[in-house]
């Protein structure tokens, strides 16, 4: 005689759910620990530092102060102690923002046709081209930036060729300009634009393009009305991937922009180095983070609306 145990309705399901819940927590524990110690911890340090006074030789003095936050946009005049806008900071913010936007647009203009070309190649060639796009990641960023410097400096390849051809009479000053920074960042971040757009084009159903042509759409109209809306998520993802690191770029502006054309990242570095103003550096870092968050929130909202629509 077999003894059957009786269960209340839902009892077994509840038990299964509970054990599932427990094991899920256990499995996410390593990630949670890393996030607490390596991300949330240092972030809290930055928040605290931004509200302290700067120490005389770097570091901080443990007294509450809003100077750090104020100094991000306002500075005390050294002669009469009045408060004025920190023009130097504001022009750096503006340069960071405008160069990052320009870099995003430039990578899009060069990246979209490239991604399209790669995605429409036969499979063997496509893998090779994708590999070539990722090759620059294998070399150190500094090395690649110095290579760009070799191209655009006064005695560099571009100027030499243009002089030889007789296109120009004297070399063009390209190093240490905003152009140099934008050019360098476009080169460095181009793969980050190409890859997500490639993924979007790869997923694109080309029968839809045929359908558009079949319904009397010209090439341009088919692109604007059918292709563009369908690969938009890839374009947005690529733009975010380029825009965010551009905003905080440090190495490229440092090497190609020189000491005068600072960007946000260089300004932060300055505060922790020669500037010896850690609270200001912390406040600037948090500002940058806030800007990035705004961009990301915009991205999430746009794409989730897209998904709700489609």
């Amino acid at each position: 005689m077999v003894e059957y145990q009786t269960y209340a309705p839902g009892e077994l399901e509840a038990e299964a759910r509970a054990s599932d819940y427990k094991s899920r927590w256990l499995l996410s524990l390593p990630a949670i620990l890393i996030i607490i110690f390596a991300a949330a911890g240092p972030l809290m340090v930055m928040v605290v530092y931004s509200f302290l006074a700067p120490g005389d030789y770097g570091n901080v003095k443990w007294e509450f102060s809003l100077e750090g936050w104020m100094n991000t946009v306002i500075q005390r005049d050294i002669f009469d102690d009045t408060l004025v806008w920190a023009d130097a900071h504001l022009s750096i913010f503006w340069r960071s923002l405008s160069l990052s936007l320009l870099t995003t647009v430039a990578t899009l203009v060069f990246g979209l046709p490239t991604a399209w070309y790669i995605a429409t190649q036969p499979s063997g060639k496509r893998e090779l081209l994708l590999y070539l796009v990722t090759v620059p990641f294998w070399a150190n960023l500094l090395v690649r930036t110095i290579a760009i410097q070799e191209l655009i400096r006064t005695e560099g390849v571009i100027n030499l060729v243009l002089l030889k051809v007789g296109f120009i009479n004297e070399p063009i000053q390209m190093m240490f300009t905003n152009f140099a920074i934008g050019f360098g960042m476009t080169y460095v971040y181009l793969p980050l634009m190409v890859l997500p757009i490639y993924a979007a084009v790869d997923k694109l159903d080309f029968r839809l393009v045929e359908a558009a042509h079949d319904l009397y759409a010209s090439r341009w109209t088919a692109f604007r009305r059918v292709i563009l809306p369908l690969i938009k998520p890839g374009i947005i993802a690529g733009s975010i991937l380029v825009f965010i690191p551009s905003l905080g770029a440090y190495v490229t502006p440092r090497v190609l922009g020189g000491g005068k054309n600072l960007m946000f990242g260089n300004l932060i570095e300055l505060q922790f180095g020669q500037g010896r103003n850690w609270p200001l550096g912390a406040a600037l870092s948090l500002m940058l983070m806030a800007a990035v968050m705004v961009a990301l929130i915009w991205y999430v909202r746009v794409t989730s609306r897209e998904q709700a629509d489609g």
Binding site: R207, L208, H213, D214, L215, Y216, A217, L230, G310
Partner: protein
């Protein structure tokens, strides 16, 4: 009227070259429901894509109403396509999908709105016009694809296996629906399918294709009852092939029995193979009379409306008979292994060109 002359399409080059169409000549009349029927890879979809303009022909020409359209891009041909998996624009609503072609033709807004409403009514989708195409069922998507292709009122509508993704019942409904739409709109339909039953039900004329060639063009009745060759007979409907000897207007089956026939052109006297459809064969218990053959029952397969009887003739040839099931049940048939008389209906024998 579509005239296709010597249309040839070769994909790839050198060793990997594949001839998808070779020297296809066919004329499709205006307002006709014309079906391209054949197994997958026979070139029927390639022919359709050539007419739509998605592929240029390697050789040959295509003209529409007397005008050569071989060189026109798809966007300049008065031809619309219903794609196999509908290819509806996922980022647009049902109504926006239907309006797309009209917008591209730069029709006035008021006309677009009224045509879209008319199309929605035609395919009974008025209620769902603001839905996304991902939010409607397969059958509904099919209707939207049809409405989208019909809205610009093309001269020719191309349909690439549009019913193959639907379940049996819906497919039956849509077959009748398509035929109705074709009658109402007066547009030439070129329909591609591998389903012989679908082709027989809907078409005015059928072209049976195999290996890049058109084997026979004719009415459904022609194709089914007077197939010109073995492939056509085999592909359309169930067939029995028997060896026979032709002399004039008479054949003598290898197993015995003489039958009057009308041989197609180009078949000479001598050994031939003949077709007998299973529904033209009946069996009964007992001995054999005149023009009756004797056979052994090997298997009996019941399939609802009819019963299929697999038989072995005296000379070893296998044939199948299909008999409608009577309401009073199967009486009088011997069991498997039993001897029966096989009766072939008069005029049921077709001589094939091999």
């Amino acid at each position: 009227m579509i005239e296709i002359e010597k249309a040839t399409k070769v994909f790839g080059t050198g060793d990997t070259a594949f001839m998808a169409l070779s020297n296809v000549d066919v004329t499709i009349a205006a307002n006709e429901f014309f079906t391209l029927l054949g197994p997958s890879g026979c070139g029927k979809t390639t022919l359709l894509r050539l007419i739509a303009g998605f592929e240029p022909p390697t050789m040959g020409s295509i003209s529409l109403a007397g005008k050569d359209i071989s060189r026109l891009p798809p966007s300049q041909r008065p031809v619309n396509t219903v794609f196999q998996n509908y290819a509806l624009f996922p980022h647009m609503s049902v109504a926006q999908n239907i309006a797309f072609g009209l917008e591209m033709l730069k029709k006035p807004k008021a006309e677009i709105r009224s045509t879209v409403d008319e199309m929605l009514r035609l395919v009974q989708m008025e209620e769902l016009k603001n839905r996304r195409t991902s939010e409607i069922s397969g059958g509904q998507q099919q209707r939207v694809a049809l409405a989208r292709a019909l809205a610009p009122h093309p001269e020719v509508l191309l349909l690439d296996e549009p019913l193959s993704a639907l379940d049996f019942k819906l497919r039956k409904e849509m077959q009748i629906e398509l035929k109705r739409l074709q009658n109402e709109t007066g547009i030439t339909f070129v329909f591609v399918t591998h389903d012989q039953e679908e082709a027989l039900t809907m078409s005015d004329r059928i072209a049976v294709m195999n290996a890049g060639k058109i084997l026979q063009v004719g009415s459904p009745r022609d194709i089914y009852e007077r197939p010109s060759e073995r492939f056509v007979a085999n592909f359309v409907g169930e067939s029995n092939f028997l060896n026979a000897e032709l002399s004039g207007s008479e054949v003598t089956l290898a197993v015995g029995g003489r039958f009057a026939v009308s041989a197609p052109n180009g078949v000479e006297d001598g050994k031939v193979s003949v077709l007998v459809r299973p529904e033209h064969i009946s069996v009964r218990a007992g001995g054999s009379g005149e023009n009756e053959l004797t056979a052994t029952i090997e298997t009996i397969v019941y399939s609802g409306e009819s019963t299929s009887i697999h038989l072995r003739l005296a000379n070893g040839e296998a044939i199948r008979a299909r008999m409608a099931n009577e309401p009073q049940g199967a009486g009088g048939l011997p069991a498997e292994g039993g001897q029966v008389a096989v009766i072939i209906a008069p005029c049921a024998i077709t001589v094939l060109r091999d």
